[in-house]
Symmetry: C2
Subunit: 340 residues, 2 copies
């Protein structure tokens, strides 16, 4: 390995809102040496998340901001190529917060989990069987608590989380309504993700479209957007509605906090609940979600899409590209072959 | 009774925001005749609620608006003076939605309950042992779910609901912080209602005062105000906070919906919950709350204040007066003597 180098994507400046390519540089360094208790991971897929905007923001958040000059924080899946930890052996596929880099020296106790592929591609560990599927599963089931016959509305409905939410709600016997942007994603919502209705917020009046799509009102709203789309959905909530706050993709800057229609009276009159949700609070329950999702995927009852960029050079622009809506499916970056 | 008349407070015009005296008139009519299944109630105390603003509003709400030309909807406590219902006899003290009027012919099945005074004044049936105490009890215990050692913040802290919430939270072993307006109410919060801290929003910077009063952040916020006070509290919520939406006293007009800082990101980052609450959903559980509250009152562990106006002529201005903050304690109107 002496002839190999570690390419790392470094945060060089703090964006004012959505991280752009020029907020990062790609540096090279030596492959790290591991010490007792660590494993050396060769990253294969890097994940790209909407939440990364928050991870690089200096505004108060649920985690410390990525430091300037530091490797970009990211979930990855990779292969153990050297181990000084009793639980992991060379060749194991593992996933965790190993960063946007080729190689990571990782405390074995910080490995999120060993990936059991069950015949599915290892990339699923970053999407439908990773943060996105687990987010969808617990966000919908624990916070949204859908009941058979209810109407569930999902924003960013064709996205990695939203598409899973819509399908899980459908499997619960709910009417599902997806809100997404552009005809290609509307088609995906209908054909791949089996929504009963799909609304194109770019070409339709969302409020009017919801009146048609939700004649019985909205019981669960899985909100990945905030902003005007959510303001429209709020007008349609039923008594006892549950609003799952999972993301705020429509709002590019939270400092200062943007203004919007006050939600309190509608929540009060409807005795409704709006609740924030972070998948990291469910770290101890990943297995439960994965056990529920895996057989659904294998039976083709739960579908997913991946949108894979090739090479670490794609990383710096990858978050901005996500916010431009360029991707169809879970955005990943492949930086090595599994068989390497 | 032939020589008696029934004075009734009639809604004559719909207010654009807070109902004023000139939205009502006082008419007289004959005392109604009851039919089989009805009781004739002589009202003794009329209740005045902040929620009455909503009851006369044409804007969509949780109940049908009071019709123009109709008797103002109100909770009252009174005496059965004639009965054609097997469950009620002459002399029974009863409470229910009998309206701002001297006499009401009431379907016996619409009587909310027979008041067992347990040695306490019958006026308590409209306050601490009525809608206010029951609102405080279920709003705090069911929705707020305070745990020992947590910090509970209450807005309109000296009011009929807020003062009960603060004391119940204190009895749960919580740190309690009341927000109220003016030195007289601040003194009430400290002396009568045993808040650990009381903040005067009229003379203090609420945000700064909360920093001092809540060094460990806010776990439960019982919100009767909405508006700038609540915006300040939101900055201080802890991970897992519960925000009970009980009233929106700071907002005088909801049509169109006023703008405020968007709450979604703070709720998301803090995995917090904002939930609307209406006491009418707990009609079947009144007894549970009253059984819990009565011994606390008798043991002087739970204090209440009443602010009693004399005579039905006071009714038309009574709601506006409430919003001006004129009252210290539960606002009632006495229109007859109990012994009459």
């Amino acid at each position: 390995m002496q002839d190999k180098i570690n390419r790392q994507v470094i945060l060089t400046s703090r964006p004012s809102d959505i991280p752009q390519a020029d907020n990062f540089s790609i540096d090279t360094s030596d492959i790290p040496t591991i010490t007792e208790g660590e494993v050396l991971v060769r990253n294969i897929y890097l994940s790209v998340e909407p939440a990364m905007r928050g991870w690089v923001s200096a505004v108060a958040n649920y985690s410390e901001p990525v430091p300037l000059g530091g490797v970009m924080r990211a979930l990855t899946v990779g292969k153990v190529i050297e181990s000084r930890h009793p639980d992991y052996g060379v060749g194991d596929i593992v996933t965790g917060m190993f960063g946007w880099q080729d190689y990571a020296a990782v405390d074995g106790d910080k490995v999120q989990r060993r990936v059991e592929t069950n015949g599915l591609p290892i990339s699923t560990a970053l999407g439908i069987l990773g943060i996105n599927g687990v987010t969808a599963y617990f966000g919908l089931m624990d916070i949204g608590q859908p009941k058979q016959g209810e109407t569930v509305v999902v924003s960013t409905a064709a996205g990695a989380v939203g598409s899973c939410v819509g399908q899980l709600a459908k499997l619960q016997g709910c009417q599902t309504v997806g809100i997404t942007g552009g005809p290609e994603k509307v088609a995906l919502c209908h054909e791949a993700f089996q929504y009963d209705h799909a609304i194109d917020y770019r070409s339709e009046d969302v409020d009017a479209a919801l009146t048609t799509a939700c004649p019985n009102g909205v019981d669960v709203y899985f909100d990945n957007t905030c902003g005007p789309i959510s303001d429209a959905v709020m007008k349609h909530i039923n008594v006892g509605a549950r609003i799952v706050l999972c993301g705020t993709a429509s709002i590019t800057n939270w400092d200062p906090i943007p203004m919007g229609p006050r939600v309190q009276r509608q929540l009060l009159v409807k005795r409704a609940r709006m609740q924030g949700f972070l998948v990291f609070d469910y770290n101890d329950r990943y297995g439960e979600a994965i056990s529920a999702l895996t057989p659904l995927i294998k039976a083709d009852k739960l579908r997913y899409r991946e949108d894979v960029l090739e090479g670490i050079d794609q990383a710096p622009d990858a978050i901005a590209s996500l916010y431009r809506g360029d991707n169809l499916g879970k955005r990943l970056i492949r930086i090595a072959n599994e068989s390497e």
